[in-house]
């Protein structure tokens, strides 16, 4: 892993188009500005991780039989119009 030391307002460029600027330094956090083309996805890492985790959990479902135990009126309240 490349580790760079930067001061406030100093930048890093990744590739030709992604620019990262160190905006502010607090006691235990830093504020980072990112300039990237709209096609580049930028998210906090935790969000990615959380969704991955949720997907793995969801993939464990083997059948919908458990839903049969729900009260029937609950199922009726789903919004889909029935034909």
């Amino acid at each position: 892993m490349l580790v760079l030391t930067r001061k406030i307002n100093e930048k890093i460029i990744i590739g030709d188009e992604v620019e990262i600027i160190l905006v502010d330094i607090g006691k235990d956090q830093v504020k980072i500005g990112i300039n990237a083309p709209k096609t580049v996805k930028v998210h906090r890492w935790e969000v990615y991780e959380e969704i991955q985790k949720e997907n793995r959990e969801a993939a464990k479902i083997k059948s919908l039989d458990a839903l049969k135990n729900l009260p029937l009126d609950i199922m009726k309240n789903f919004g889909k119009k029935e034909k």
């Binding site: 709209k38 096609t39 580049v40 996805k41 998210h43 969000v47 990615y48 959380e50 969704i51 991955q52 985790k53 949720e54 997907n55 793995r56 959990e57 969801a58 993939a59 479902i61 083997k62 059948s63 919908l64 458990a66 839903l67 135990n69 729900l70 609950i74 199922m75 309240n77 789903f78 919004g79 889909k80 029935e82």
Partner: protein, 166 residues
Amino acid sequence: MKITTTRFGEIDIVPEEIVVFSEGLLGFDEVHRFIILNPQDGSPFRWLQCVDDGDLAFVIIEPLSFMFAYDLEIADADAAFLGLEKAEDAVLYAIVTIPENPSDMTANLQGPLVINAKSRKGRQVISTNTQHSVKARILDEMKRRAEEIRKVTESLESSGKKEGEG
């Protein structure tokens, strides 16, 4: 085209109905082709069955079948990726998780699936709306929805705007 699945055995699918998630789903980036299986019993739940891996399937649901409103802003990058020209072409699904107690089932509203119904390209996007939880409780949302509908109906009635419906 026939595929073998763990949950449904051998099933016959129409190749034209395959939805391609070229990046896979988060945590499942090595599989790309999926098919949506609709239940015959009028249930709002669907299966997103992977075509590349018969063991892999997700339960999915359209947010508006249990929520009063679901406002998702599709980022330009996502729209470009999917080749989405009109909002009407976008079909939204949330992946469902069912824990031991099915009343606690949740839908992932933060990482919804957006599918371009025309091109059948899909992507799991990340919503920037902080109201969208990874674990939105489906039954609670349904109660909220019923409450909202009740309010709307009441306000229509009290303002005397009872118009005949077709």
